[in-house]
Amino acid sequence: MQQNCYHCGTSCDNSIQVEDKFFCCAGCKMVFQLLDDNGMCNYYDLSEMPGMSSKGIFTSEKYNYLDSIAVQEQLIQFKLADQAHVVFYLPQIHCVSCVWLLENLHKINPGIIHAQTHFERKEIKIVYNPSKISLKELVQLLAFVGYEPMIHLWGNDWLKKKKVNKKQLFKIGVAGFCFSNIMMLSFPDYLSTSVGDLGSLRPFFVYLNLLLSIPVLLFSASGFFISAYTGLRQKWLNIDAPIALAILVTFGRSVYEIFTHTGSGYLDSMSGIVFFMLVGRWFQDKSYDSFSFDRDYTSFFPLGVTVLKEGKEINKPLSEIEKGAILLIRNNEMITADAILLTDGALIDYSFVTGENAPIEVVKGAKVFAGGIQKGPAIEVEVLKPVGQSYITELWNSPLLNAEKNVDKSFVHPWSQYFTYVLFSIAIGSGLYWWWVNPSNIMTAITSVLIVACPCSLLLTVTFTYGNVLRHLGKYKMYCKNSSVLEAIEKIDTIVFDKTGTLTNHEDTHLVYEGNLLPKLIASIIYSVTRASLHPLSQLITNYYSTQGLDMIKVENIQNITGKGTLANCEGKSIVIGSASLLMDHGIKVIDPSAGVFIAIDKVYMGMFKINHVYRTGIHEMIKRLKINGYQIHLLSGDHPTEKNNLVHIMGADTPMLFEQNPNDKLHYIQYLQSKGHKVMMVGDGLNDAGALKKCDVGIAVTDQTHLFTPASDAILEGGMIPSLDHLLKYAKKGKTIIIILFILSILYNLVGMYFATRAQLSPMVAAILMPISSISIVSLSALLSYIFSNRVGLKN
């Protein structure tokens, strides 16, 4: 009967059972029992089937490197004799139950004093007693309950990031405080003509205002001055330059008016502008904390490896591996350097590097490459090159990648330049006019123009609109690195797709059987044989048959030949299941010996299982729509061209398709397209696309589980949303439309202000009304328009 695992929700049969609960594997059952023993079953009450499926055998040796003091020193933030603080990144955190379990770890092991999770950043801060539980045991416990930490020796980079955010909040807080108080103190002034003078109190109000505006000018607005100054030093007028000028002019004129007792200045408008613009920047910059967009190969590699020396296993950090060292690679561990294989039984999955689907059998003495993952028993390899010089890592040192991505300056900047020129001409024009009519008004008119026409509404438009668009895209599972990605998407005319993992689904492989029809008895035999094996391919075959209601048959003489297959006897028949070479070793003729699992009964070849990845649904329509929208589509695959016919059907016959592309080929292809003047977007996953993703104008990394590692990219897209890629791109491009609409609106506001300013009649009251009205209407319109557009481009699913 079909059941769902009580722990992780994977569908399973009822062979593993505790009380009335079923489990898919021994791992899930063990986690359940651990939680049950500690009275922590609340974990299962908070969300249904919250657990992580813990398939495979948990190897505790993997974390041996955590015993090294040097590693500990880098990871532990703070240490006393009986207390140590450590922060881990746990990408598996996904629900309320996770938070609950992790924060109650002290019930399982009293050595843990306190644990605090940060849900959005997927981090946990653990305070533990190092005399009761070692760092290694702590990590093992986390991994056991399903939250294996991603350990990286980041140094203190992430701490710095936090501090920057804090300073931004400080600035907003100070500006908000000063702005609201200045506004309140200026209020009597707005009404002074009708209600009567404040008389002797006036200087007190005015000087208090001045005092309050100083922190805004010196602290809150400092970012604008610094940015404008660095821009000017590079002989480039950025958007912050006119803003900095407006702030300075407003402050200067206000000080002049206050000390000459000719007025009370525009300090309220000035602090208001600064406050709103800071909020806008903060809104735009709110990033996706749990994602990292700048990973290099080291993020993919384990931190430590097991080195064999004189028969002993020693754990060493990755960086200390030298040529000639002998590494022990266990099941599901990654080969960290190009090496020579010393033992038998290597079955290496290079899907990470090449995109090739099936694991490759490697014979003793052959070369294995960094990035491959061993599937099967532990193997020993002798390192040929240090980690940094391996084939895959050399990609990162390629001079093609070291060049800065040609980030075009935002389209907003030229606008702000025109804006500045127009602004200056109007200021000078009105100055000339007053020089002719009434010279006493010259300075008033010029400064009023500069005050009123501050491009702050332009900046507000841009920051809030991009912030809104980024948020809406995030809702649809596309997470952009920052707002300049949106502007880069705008210019894209060519989209290059990767096949494996991008157009196909990594998780969803299915087997296709080719060959003679197998009678039910034979199928039962194969099912029984593969069930007994832990090999990933056997497990696929088991899954293939598990839904067909086959009986288990007693199998005799099971003989596993590592890395090749299985021999067995059953019901008087001899069965060979395994690679083509295994069958040929037994003198069986194989038709079309390629990758796959071959079956022979009584020395007669029956057929083979091929692994096919399933194409995501809706790809064909999406490609079609992209082509209608004028994009050129290309396909780069690391895989063999066997799928070509299928792909022609999906991608259309006019799509250039290249197969057997290694990471370097992909990178060069992107460069070739760029050299022809195309703006290229690469959609891919895995390390094999990493170079291309980095080189192209917009790199989109596809992942089926956002907690898995993705290569360095500009945006991360959840695999399920690929069929909506065209809608997402369309929406990302709408940002510019919204900005243009709002910019026209802000120019209208400016014209009204100009009308008063050029006539030298800008009263503080007009400025104080105009400023918040324009800011608030722009902010709310920006939110409204981005919402409306997100519905209109067909993103609603």
Binding site: N42, T117, F119, F177
Partner: protein, 53 residues
């Protein structure tokens, strides 16, 4: 009218108190995580009951 001066000084001081409270909350990291606390506060009591039964 001069009572205004005292009132305004008081009002600015009160507002300043809130500003300091805000800066303090940022500094001590209370703004770092705006989601988990909302989940966490729902746990404790309910949990102990469910263990007992």
């Amino acid at each position: 009218m001069s009572v205004f001066i005292i009132l305004i000084i008081i009002s600015v001081l009160v507002a300043g108190g809130f500003l300091i409270a805000f800066l303090w909350s940022v500094q001590t990291g209370q703004m770092d995580d705006d989601y988990t606390p909302s989940v966490r506060m729902l746990f404790d009591d309910e949990l102990k009951k469910s263990i007992k039964k």
